[in-house]
């Protein structure tokens, strides 16, 4: 692994929601700051910057990850998905996003991006989760607005729709 010098900015390149992106970052720059302030992708939110709240969750190489615990330079060469990449096209929502809207599974929407990113991957791997499984899985996210009840309802509903019309994913 090559060493990075602390006092210099380094070129970071990765694939973001299917498109190549690049910008410079000091080695200490967090991936959250890089996404939000260098690349202007402000959909990923920062709730704690210490790995507990889950608001910053994104997908790195197919695995959900806390962007606040990741350095931008660590993402070099990776494939990253964020909330901006979930909708199939502008003006249309994915099945999961649409279920969130119908069930009022968001209020302020600050925690939502992280929860969507976690669930999006999870529902692809688990097509028929039970409420108990979803509760366990979503235990890594904090939401202060909804009380979680509508989030669970939306996730169960989305799983059902995806089972019935998988092409809609």
């Amino acid at each position: 692994m090559h060493r990075l010098s602390a006092d210099r900015r380094h070129r970071v390149r990765f694939t973001l929601n299917g498109k190549p992106v690049e910008a410079d970052a000091e080695p200490r720059m967090l991936l959250t700051d890089f996404l939000r302030h260098e690349l202007g992708q402000t959909g990923t939110h920062v709730g704690c910057e210490h790995g507990v709240c889950g608001a910053c969750t994104i997908e790195i190489d197919g695995v959900p990850a806390r962007a606040c615990l990741t350095l931008a330079v660590q993402a070099d060469g990776a494939t990253i998905r964020t909330v901006e990449g979930l909708a199939p096209e502008p003006g249309r929502l994915s099945v999961l996003q649409d279920a969130f809207r119908r069930h009022h599974a968001l209020q302020c929407g600050f925690c939502t991006a992280g929860i969507l990113m976690s669930l999006d991957g999870y529902l692809r791997r688990h097509s028929a989760p039970t409420e108990a499984e979803l509760r366990e899985f979503l235990g890594g996210h904090l939401c202060r607005c909804t009380g979680y009840t509508p989030i669970l309802a939306a996730a169960l509903d989305a799983a059902k729709t995806l089972r019935e019309v998988p092409a809609h994913a």
């Binding site: 000091e26 210490h50 901006e84 009022h104 600050f110 904090l142």
Partner: protein
């Protein structure tokens, strides 16, 4: 065209807010662009709860490349005035510590720099000399006269005291069959919105004007406080809010001191300044609810009927009385009798100052504290009189048909049918079955309890209730304060489409959606025809002091104002339509996107065409009928100032809640499981059932957190101990069950739409409902929150034997900080004598101490080192002062000393022994015992322990490397016989 007028209100339409929020296109404060040249601020905060600031040296910080300015107290006190304090006392409240720090996290200096990273680097370079003072932590101790006084202007830490008397409480107590009392200590907690504070501040020297965008939530009465502190008239302090805000629950009221502070920073730096609070700052120093000690006594008849209450409340507002405090203590004043018909009430209210963060708005605002006392008392009455708690509640409820009901303390309960809602909840919620379930569980020896609560949820605060803290005399001098101006503006544009603006500053509550429903209903349109803007700009929009999003005022007050504005513009449009359709205006109705003659729907005009008339053909419309833009200010007449006898209608609307629940407590661990929770609400007319549901489930989750997990915990030295989300436990999907929600609807006669607030009720009712259930399960009489397993287990497990005394080295404990202990061993590839030399050589130490910037040898046994250490999320620079003793060359040595830095301090001792190994190396064994204080202590034992272990392991790893062993960590296992 539909003949039936559709009512959009009452339907759970999809929210207009959601598409953007779901796709990452929200516009929160940190998502907004800034002007080129904007600087980024970081705040140096006090590591001490109470200390004198002796000196601050900021030259090194100022010299760091990228730093534009360092703002210290003198910059702040030089120009503006202190923030106004709500009680009559000679106290100042600045947004930065001046002579003393009074709580952990209090701002001490602000650095503005080219980036936040550089600004935080510079914080490390500021040196502050503190002279620590004893801290005042316990609100009762704060009153006993033995503690230091926090503010020079005061003779004690009692900032305000008032007594009130309504009816004839003395007589009721004298005549009562029973006198029953509870004493409760309500803890501190906070609703911690997921988005922290943030703002962008700019100062225009040419106009002497400030322009700040902040995720402030109101009340905008604080605009006057901020403008005054910045010493400009209100029109030179333009305050704007971003389109989206990531939750608030009251908390974002507390950004206002930072608006002043960063306004000054922008002025000093001569450039715009952006500041986004981080989570550690938020937990330590934003705002929390008050902690309160209450003794509540009741005069009770033999059948459980309560004749009188005697409240004695001691409110801990922290280090400053920051506006609008002591409002928490007075918001419930009108409804201190709860849902009950109690005519005799005595009150003694005291406000004390302690070395904790200042308090402020928080969901429930005063309700959790009041209902915890009142409803614990009702449960105690049932236990003592051997009654079903449901019977005690039933016998005391304000009767049906009594509305509007004037309480003893002055509130007017607008509408309701409490007995009906109560009985319906018991029936529909399955109370009898729950009792059965409890009996079965108990028969199996399980700890199963049932709790219940009745509560009044006040909404739409009277801006005058806070003045109840003043005597009638003081109020006369200050002039009457009252009312709750709500405002809404409706504009028609040249193509006849409808825009609405309100000053309600939502933080996720879907205001834009509900307003589009309300206005669509009034004008016969679809919600999608109506566009709503809800961000506020005080330089441009209609607003007043009550503007903002608090006291659950939206549905009742703001929704009502929008309805009135729509009716107003509709009346004008009806006149224009009447002229066009040749019918009298009373005959015009609006439906299906058209205005039409009643009874002759073919005689109609499209709404858009009609609405555009006053733009294109003003000549055809008499001036007084021109329909372009209408702004309505609405303040309910019922919200009058406190009377001469201190009666106050503190809120306009009063919803009713009745909750009951079943909980089970684990016999071994003491963990509480919520088995069933039923919550009945009467919040008047419901405009959007989905959102009302969301307010209830959301409030319920907050309440579960407050009841079972959350507490802002302070050590006896005032150190803050719950400074991360790993220590301040917010409940997740695993902890929050789904409650059963029931409703009845009795519309409020005082609001234009019959609505009432609903956002805060469960924060008031649920904590005590769960506590009553726990008390029932355990047969406990005194029970305080949070109901942690340890606390509950202590109520039924015998006390544990004391752990065996620790061995060497002797701890340096003063019993105040957080203790750290550990031991371990490591192997080095050098003989003990060589290792010994290395340990005493500053150059070697410099190379092997993790994060070391330099070691100075002051004598053979005295070293000083400068190090940067990261503990969890907190990284800072520290100065270590280490002395060696008990030297037994080359076998053993004791190290003792102190570590100090901006983020905290530590005292400790360690003992190292060196033993030769068969292979010519040395075995190092060490043990240490330290005590940590300041901000670092707030990040919690788990992280701290882990970090200490890592640092020490790194030290020995580096030492091993230095002794010629291979440096790669992959060989760690070979180097060290056993992990450190």
């Amino acid at each position: 065209m539909s003949e039936l007028p559709t009512s959009w209100c009452g339907q759970s339409v999809e929210r207009v807010e959601d598409a953007a929020l779901l796709t990452g296109r929200g516009r929160f404060i940190d998502d907004l662009g800034v002007r080129p040249g904007t600087l980024h601020a970081a705040i140096l905060r006090s590591p001490h709860a109470h200390a004198k600031i002796v000196a601050i040296r900021a030259d090194a910080a100022r010299a760091l490349p990228g730093v534009a300015a360092v703002i210290l107290a003198e910059d702040v006190t030089a120009l503006p005035a202190s923030l106004v304090v709500g009680v009559k006392a000679p106290i100042e409240c600045w947004p930065i510590a001046t002579d003393r720090v009074r709580y952990v996290g209090e701002p001490v200096a602000v650095v503005v720099a080219a980036s936040r990273y550089i600004a935080e680097d510079a914080l490390d370079l500021i040196e502050v000399d503190y002279q620590t003072l004893p801290a005042v932590v316990d609100p009762l101790a704060a009153l006993d006269g033995t503690q230091p006084i926090l503010h020079d202007g005061l003779r004690s830490n009692l900032a305000s005291e008032r007594r009130f008397r309504y009816g004839d409480p003395e007589r009721a107590f004298a005549e009562a069959t029973h006198r029953i009392a509870v004493t409760i200590k309500y803890p501190r907690n906070s609703c911690t919105p997921m988005e922290t504070y943030g703002l962008i501040a700019e100062y225009d020297a040419g106009e002497d004007a400030y322009d700040v965008t902040a995720n402030f939530m109101g009340p905008f009465s604080l605009h006057a406080v901020m403008a005054r502190a910045l010493k400009v008239p209100g029109n030179r302090f333009r305050l704007r809010t971003p389109p989206d805000s990531g939750g608030s629950f009251g908390v974002k009221q507390g950004v206002f001191p930072y608006i002043v502070l960063m306004g000054i920073a922008a002025r000093v730096a001569g450039r715009p300044v952006k500041w986004v609070e981080d989570r550690l700052e938020h937990l330590a120093a934003s705002v929390s609810a008050t902690n309160r000690v209450t003794t509540l006594r009741a005069a009770v008849d033999a059948d459980g009927r309560v004749r009188a209450l005697d409240w004695n409340q001691i409110e801990d507002v922290g280090a400053h009385i920051r506006a609008p405090e002591p409002a928490t203590l007075y918001r419930m004043h009108g409804n201190l009798g709860g849902a009950y018909d109690i005519r005799n009430i005595a009150v003694r209210n005291r406000v004390v100052l302690t070395n904790k963060a200042p308090t402020g708005l928080n969901r429930g605002f005063g309700g959790p504290q009041v209902y915890y006392a009142l409803e614990r008392l009702m449960q105690r009455i049932a236990v003592i009189l051997k009654l079903d708690p449901a019977d005690v509640i039933r016998r005391n409820l304000v009767p049906s048909g009594a509305f509007p009901y004037r309480t003893a303390t002055g509130a007017i309960y607008d509408s309701g049918d409490y007995p009906l809602a109560f009985e319906k909840a018991l029936t529909d919620g399955g109370y009898a079955a729950l009792r059965q379930r409890q009996a079965e569980a108990r028969a199996q020896g399980r700890l199963y309890g049932i709790g219940m609560t009745a509560a009044i949820e006040p909404s739409v605060s009277n801006m005058g209730y806070i003045t109840t803290v003043l005597t009638p005399e003081e109020r006369r001098k200050a002039g009457p304060k009252n009312g709750a101006q709500a405002t809404a503006t409706i504009a028609l544009d040249p193509v006849g489409s409808v825009s609405v603006h309100v000053s309600s500053v939502p933080q996720g509550q879907g205001h834009r959606t509900v307003l589009s429903q309300i206005v669509a209903d009034a004008l016969g349109l679809k919600p999608s025809d109506v566009r709503v803007v809800a961000e506020l700009d005080t330089g441009r929009d209609a607003w007043s002091i009550a503007s903002g999003n608090y006291s659950s005022r939206f549905a009742a007050a703001v929704g009502g104002a929008a309805h009135l504005a729509a009716e107003k513009i509709k009346a004008k449009l009806a006149k224009i339509a009447a002229a066009q359709l040749n019918v009298p205006p009373e005959e015009i109705e609006f439906a299906g996107g058209r205005a039409r003659a009643r009874g002759n729907p073919d005689n109609n005009v499209a709404f858009g065409r009609l609405a555009a008339t006053s733009h294109w053909s003003p000549g055809l419309v008499p001036e007084e009928n021109q329909a372009l833009r209408e702004t309505v200010f609405w303040s309910p007449p019922q919200l009058t100032p406190p009377s001469e006898n201190d009666e106050i209608n503190s809120s306009l609307c009063h919803g009713f809640i009745f909750d009951f629940c079943g909980v089970e407590i684990d016999r071994v661990t003491g963990a509480l499981r919520i088995d069933k929770y039923v919550t009945m609400h009467d919040c008047g007319r419901i405009l959007h059932p989905g959102m009302v549901e969301g307010q209830i489930t959301g409030g319920f989750a907050h309440a579960v957190g407050a009841a079972l997990y959350e507490e802002y915990s302070y050590g006896p030295d005032g150190s803050f101990q719950t400074g991360t989300f790993a220590d301040y436990l917010v409940p997740t999907t695993m902890e929050v069950p789904t409650p059963v929600i029931l409703h009845i609807e009795t519309p409020s006669p005082f609001t234009p739409l019959g609505t009432k607030g609903v956002g805060e009720g469960n924060c008031m009712s649920t904590p005590v409902c769960l506590a009553n259930a726990a008390a029932d399960a355990l047969g406990a009489s005194d029970i305080d929150l949070p109901l942690t397993p340890a606390k509950l287990a202590a109520l039924f497990h015998p006390a544990e034997a004391a752990p065996p005394a620790t061995v060497r080295p002797q701890p340096v404990k003063t019993g105040k900080g957080r203790a750290l202990q550990g031991q371990g061993q490591a192997q080095a590839n050098a003989a003990p004598a060589d290792v010994w030399r290395m340990l005493l050589d500053p150059k070697t130490l410099e190379a092997i101490i993790p994060g070391c910037h330099g070691v100075e040898k002051l004598s053979d046994t005295h070293f000083r080192a400068d190090v940067t250490l990261g503990v969890g999320p907190v990284t800072g620079r520290y100065r270590a002062d280490i002395k060696l003793s008990d030297l037994d060359e080359p076998k053993a040595v004791t190290l003792s000393g102190t570590v100090t830095g901006a983020l905290g301090d530590a005292k400790g001792a360690g003992h190292i022994t060196l033993t030769p190994t068969d292979t010519g190396g040395a075995l190092l064994a060490y043990e240490y015992d330290a005590e940590i204080g300041g901000k670092v202590a707030s990040i919690g034992g788990r992280l701290l322990d882990g970090a200490a272990k890592i640092v020490i392991r790194q030290f020995f790893e580096a030492l091993a490397r230095h002794t010629g062993g291979p440096a790669r960590t992959g060989l760690f296992a070979r180097l060290f016989g056993r992990g450190a």
